[in-house]
């Protein structure tokens, strides 16, 4: 299976990355090579195999709902690119 320039455009939009026209070809080629390499997985019979999402068994972790100290609003916003009224500020979305 190969990856076309159109595929790259579609994936890039899903991934929220602006890929300029002159870079589409390069990504199509390198992604295509990797996708071709992972095609080898199709040759294995995995019909009755359960998927592993974590190697070590994990489950819900519960703890008492106790208030503890954490970062203050001010500390958290100190890393913000733009902040206003105690919140992170983003460009205007709704007119």
């Amino acid at each position: 299976m190969s990856i076309s320039k159109e595929d790259v455009k579609y994936i890039a939009a899903l991934a929220r990355i602006d890929v300029p026209e002159d870079k589409l070809e390069g990504f199509a080629k390198s992604l295509g090579g990797i996708v071709q390499y992972v095609e080898q997985l199709q040759s294995l019979d995995v019909e009755n195999v359960k998927p592993t999402s974590h190697a070590v068994p994990v489950g819900n972790v519960l703890r008492p709902d106790v208030v503890k100290t954490s970062l203050t609003n001010q500390e958290a916003l100190a890393i913000a690119v733009e902040a206003k009224d105690g919140s992170f500020k983003v460009p205007l979305v709704i007119e």
Binding site: I3, D7, V8, I11, A12, L14, A15, R16, I17, D18, V19, P20, F27, S30, L31, G33, I34, V35, Y37, V38, Q40, L41, Q42, L44, V46, V49, K50, P51, T52, S53, H54, A55, V56, V58, V61, R63, L71, E75, A76, A78, I79, A80, V81, E82, F88, V90, P91, L92, V93
Partner: protein, 475 residues
């Protein structure tokens, strides 16, 4: 011998017998950094403030650029995180500070740990102290190079597919990836959450045990942290392998394995056999599929983890000049376009593709199923083996620039290290010789889950009977 040339345990002995002070040792290592780092380029920046030197183990340490350290700029060697000064300490950093550890600075890595050579860093590459034309390995290349060049007494790195072990091997030092859940990932900027583990890079096996004692243990802030008692790892430093069973997978000694690496690993095997270990040929039939599985599972998790870097909360934000879609979407897309390097974009897109509608079953779900097969292979072998031994990497360190334009050949550098991450088991790389060209060769031992002790015991025995860990690069 200068203080910076010592192992951490030797330095600790001098401090405890009052022959030197933590402050003096710290200053000596900083002087070493200033002398040789212009050549090696292991450090991204030195720590902003001097530590307090109070604690049981006041040893100077280097920290990988993906471990949140309060007040320091932590960027994962990516432009997108430039300007992010961590407001808190990672779980391991808290433990280091509590033990008296003094942070020297933040060391280089491949961008977001995507790489095996340290070349994808936005700061430029780190160089191998044994040959400055070669890569130090990656992604924890700065961690490994700083320790090998005596620019740090020891270092912390992270390992998702070999990122501690492969650079340890390339730089001739010891690197351990602990069992998944042994060390808290709280404050580690995530790459692939089901594979990532933090671990030590050290000058010898005893230092590895000491650093494991400091960083291991339960942390409720990491929901995958395992609440099991932590042994005193220095008790595993036993010079004896009599009767221990070492499995040698036949799949490991195939085409693509450098002859010198093969010979060094076979010599190590002979030595351990002479010392009383029982060698067993075993089979891990699905390991040839490990790299393909990894590049589905790891990139899928990465594409999701890296979605948080969008210019809203941390790091850089692009200011689009004109409107294409809408102001917010344009800002996301341009920030990510300018902030991520090409390899990061490639992996995010590959993971996005593997998770996208219509391809999920064929790629991601299938990858997770093959992961089960690989894990089952290892479980089966460990029913009758104490450790499994392979080379750490199929080659010694390669030249800077040699593989950077061919992602697939770079990925194959991790062919021996990836299975341990997929199965969650611990694995260590220790020096086992040198190539004719003078580059270090590494040997990998994999163990059962939570049996780091067995890895340390076999490694310690091998190390005590070989001279490799005593050699130093000339800088």
């Amino acid at each position: 011998m200068s203080l910076h040339q010592l192992t951490s345990h030797a330095l600790l002995d001098l401090i405890r017998s009052r022959q030197t002070t933590p402050r003096e040792a710290y200053a000596d290592v900083v002087a070493r950094i200033k002398a040789v780092d212009p050549k090696v380029k292991a450090y991204v920046h030195l720590a902003k403030s001097e530590p307090n030197f109070i604690g049981e183990i006041p040893i100077p340490i280097a920290i990988k650029d993906n471990l949140c350290t309060k007040g320091e700029e932590i960027t994962c060697a990516s432009r997108i995180l430039k300007g992010f000064h961590s407001p808190y300490d990672a779980g391991v950093i808290e433990r280091i500070k509590k033990s008296g550890g003094s942070i020297l600075g933040i060391v280089n890595m491949d961008e977001f740990a995507f790489g095996s050579s340290c070349e994808t860093s936005c700061y430029g590459p780190t160089f191998n102290p044994w040959n400055l034309q070669c890569v130090p390995g990656g992604s924890s290349g700065g961690s490994a190079a700083s320790v090998a060049a005596d620019e740090a007494m020891w270092a912390l790195g992270s390992d998702t597919g070999g990122s501690i072990r492969q650079p340890a091997s390339f730089c001739g030092i010891v690197g351990l990836k602990p069992t998944y859940g042994r060390v808290s990932r709280y404050g580690l900027i995530a790459f692939a959450s089901s594979l990532d583990q933090i671990g030590p890079l050290t000058k010898d096996v005893k230092d590895c045990a000491l650093l494991m004692n400091i960083i291991s243990g339960y942390d409720e802030r990491d929901s995958t942290s395992v609440n099991e008692p932590v042994p005193d790892y220095t008790k595993s430093l036993v010079n004896d392998v009599r009767g221990l069973k070492i499995g040698i997978p036949k799949e490991a000694f195939v085409e693509g394995l450098d002859l010198e690496v093969r010979r060094a690993v076979e010599d190590a095997l002979d030595l351990l056999k002479k010392m009383g270990a029982v060698i067993k040929e075993v089979s891990l039939p699905h390991t040839p599929y490990a790299v393909a599985t990894y590049y589905i599972v790891a990139t899928a998790e990465a594409s999701s983890n890296l979605a948080r870097f969008d210019g809203v909360r941390f790091g850089m934000r692009a200011q689009p000049a004109s409107t294409r879609k809408n102001a917010l979407l344009d800002m996301y897309e341009e920030t990510r376009a300018k902030g991520f390097g090409d390899e990061a974009k490639r992996r995010i897109m590959l993971g996005t593709y593997a998770l996208s509608s219509g391809y999920y079953d064929a790629y991601y779900l299938r990858g997770q199923k093959v992961r089960t097969l690989i894990k089952n292979d290892l479980d089966e072998v460990f029913k009758d083996c104490d450790v499994i031994m392979t080379p750490t990497s199929p080659t010694v360190a390669f030249k800077v620039g040699e593989k950077v334009s061919d992602p697939l050949s770079m990925y194959l550098s991790d062919i021996y290290t990836i299975p341990a991450n997929l199965a969650g088991i611990p694995a260590i790389s220790i020096p086992c010789g040198f190539s004719k060209s003078g580059l270090p060769i590494g040997l990998q031992l994999m163990g059962k889950a939570f049996d780091e002790e067995m890895l340390l015991r076999v490694s310690y025995t091998y190390e005590q009977n070989t001279p490799w860990h005593l050699k130093k690069p000339q800088l």
